[in-house]
């Protein structure tokens, strides 16, 4: 393939993993999460043909994710990224295949995973602190401790002084921070994030990216991060998973060997950063998406 030849341009920066099973076995020693051969099928009603159709949203998806690593997933719209995250969160079951976290089979949602959804999904009738508190209530943490923990995470995302505001009184970027704080507060080991910064302006986005990196370095969570932005994926992740659509499969897995700590502003002027981003962009371009 053309991809293989192009790889030579950036020795040492990108090591292109073999998609699917190959990668899974490679990392399996200290793997936090192992996704094995996931397949998701949706049943659709085709009105024209008056028949039920099967739509393969995710196919042959295998990946092994190391403890404390940051994995970004990029791919064309509709390639099954959200579908994957729904399965990871336990909200939906795959048609076949399975997920193990710390060797334990995932059978449904649990507080060992935090899910930051694209649309913030804050409870509008709860104030900032009450939103952050939610998972702790579910976890049966006593009230006094809850407030302490909430304060800590509100502080972490820089929302001091906004504890008693309602989401309708916050900006989009602030809502996003609350959403992140809510997911962090109950201390999940894994953080699933679905295009969390898609709806904020470029400036806020950069701030949030830096903050997320800081939080990740501090808390040592395993993060799975979906994004439409290639630059964002390269900036944040240890590994970038490139997906193709119809059916949703892994096209490439790239290890990003850029030094850390990384900061958005420094990255913008880094030549390596740009060439890696461009490389991934080409990969996505080559993807002959139907339609």
């Amino acid at each position: 393939m053309a991809n293989k030849a192009a790889n030579g341009l950036l020795p040492g920066i990108i090591s292109e993993g073999i998609p699917a099973q190959g990668t899974a076995s490679h990392h399996s020693q200290n793997a936090k999460i192992v996704l094995r051969d996931l397949r998701q099928v949706f049943h659709l009603r085709n009105a024209e043909k008056n028949a039920n159709e099967e739509f393969v949203a995710l196919d042959n998806f295998s990946l092994s994710i190391g403890e404390g690593s940051f994995v970004a997933i990029v791919g064309p719209s509709g390639c099954g990224k959200s579908t994957l995250l729904d399965i990871l969160s336990g909200l939906s079951k795959p048609k076949s295949g399975d997920i193990h976290i710390d060797g334990k089979l995932v059978t449904g949602p649990a507080l060992d995973r935090g899910f930051v959804m694209q649309g913030y999904a804050l409870f509008p009738w709860r104030t900032v602190i009450k939103n952050v508190e939610y998972g702790l209530v579910i976890k049966h943490i006593p009230k006094k401790q809850r407030i302490e923990i909430c304060k800590k995470y509100i502080d972490l995302v820089g929302l001091n002084g906004f504890e008693n505001r309602y989401p309708s009184e916050l900006s989009g970027g602030m809502c996003q921070r609350v959403s992140i704080a809510r997911s962090l507060a109950y201390d999940p080991k894994v953080l699933l994030m679905d295009e969390p910064f898609a709806a904020v302006d470029a400036q806020t986005r950069e701030t949030l990216q830096d903050e997320l990196l800081g939080i990740w370095e501090k808390t040592k969570k395993t993060i799975i991060f979906i994004t439409h932005s290639i630059e964002e994926a390269v900036l944040l992740a240890d590994r970038v998973v490139v997906m193709t659509a119809r059916p949703g499969r892994i096209k490439n897995v790239l290890d990003i060997a850029l030094p850390r700590p990384r900061r958005a502003a420094d990255m913008r002027v880094s030549a390596n950063y740009s060439s890696i981003s461009h490389r991934i962009w080409e990969m996505l371009q080559n993807d002959d998406i139907p339609l």
Binding site: G108, P124, W125, G135, S168, S171
Partner: protein
């Protein structure tokens, strides 16, 4: 049909006091730069001006005997009669029993209607099955069922309370159902992703999410419960405001009849304002929409 009522414009969203104050007059009052106390007095005077004018017109037209003086006594006479009835305990006799009936029927409606609505709204397949029947019950006039209730439950307290219960139940259920269905699925998804067990999901997400629509249901059904109560009391009771209006009319004790109507009007006003207060409380997270972002 059912959906439309739910979106009915709520006073709490229109303005702090339900009825928007005429801008110009408001500015004129402000321009006077009165001290705070005088300002408040002035404001309340302006608020009640329309009512005062109406009562004056009533008084004058009765004094001028524009209508038969037997059938339209002056307002002052009605007030005086009402005062006497209050002293003699006659007013309390009718008022207390009516309030008891309305409150019992209504709170039973709340206790059954809201949980039922939450559950029916959650199980959409069941909702699809039961909705047509509920629509029929809701849209069928309760007054038409009045004889049925009397036949089945007699003319005692039970049948009146049951009638009020029935009269508020379907509106409450349907509004709760609509509220549940209007909840952002992302919120439910978020709650489920945080492993929320079913009872907590209802208490922490479904109920508060449906609350705005539920409050609208309460507002609509509170009004109709008074109506149902009056009808039930007029047809089969020996106490209560509805009975009293009917009774005094029959006795041609017209000022007493008007007195009861005035009490009802005040009651209506009180209910309306307390519900606006409730709405303000429930909507407090919504009120500043548009200011934040």
């Amino acid at each position: 049909m059912g959906m439309r009522d739910v979106k009915g414009n709520s006073p709490a969203l229109r303005g702090t006091y339900g009825i928007r104050v005429n801008e110009a007059a408001w500015r004129a009052i402000n321009a006077l730069k009165l001290p705070k106390f005088a300002h408040t007095v002035f404001w309340w005077f302006y608020r009640s001006l329309a009512i005062v004018i109406f009562l004056l017109l009533w008084e004058i037209s009765a004094r001028l005997e524009l209508a038969n003086p037997v059938f339209l006594p002056p307002f002052s006479k009605v007030v005086l009669t009402l005062y006497k009835m209050a002293l003699s305990g006659e007013l309390a006799k009718h008022f207390i029993i009516s309030a008891q009936r309305a409150l019992t029927g209504f709170s039973m409606g709340l206790l059954v209607g809201i949980p039922a609505g939450l559950i029916i709204g959650w199980f959409s397949k069941f909702e699809y099955f039961i909705d047509p029947l509920m629509q029929i019950f809701r849209n069928l006039s309760v007054l038409a069922l009045l004889p049925v209730f009397m036949l089945l439950f007699g003319i005692g307290e039970f049948s009146k309370i049951a009638l009020i219960f029935w009269g508020v139940l379907w509106t409450l259920i349907l509004n709760t159902v609509a509220g549940v269905k209007s909840i952002d699925t992302q919120l439910v998804k978020a709650a489920r992703a945080m492993a929320t067990p079913a009872p907590l999901l209802f208490a922490l997400v479904i109920l508060p999410g449906a609350m705005p629509s539920i409050v609208t249901g309460i507002r609509i059904s509170a009004t109709s419960s008074v109506l149902v109560l009056l009808a039930a009391e007029m047809l089969g009771a020996n106490r209560g405001l509805g009975f009293a209006i009917h009774y005094y009319e029959g006795q041609v004790r017209i000022p007493q009849m008007y007195g009861m109507i005035v009490v009802l009007a005040i009651l209506g006003l009180l209910i309306s304002y307390s519900l606006i207060a409730l709405e303000k409380h429930v909507f407090r997270w919504r009120q500043k929409v548009g200011v934040g972002e």
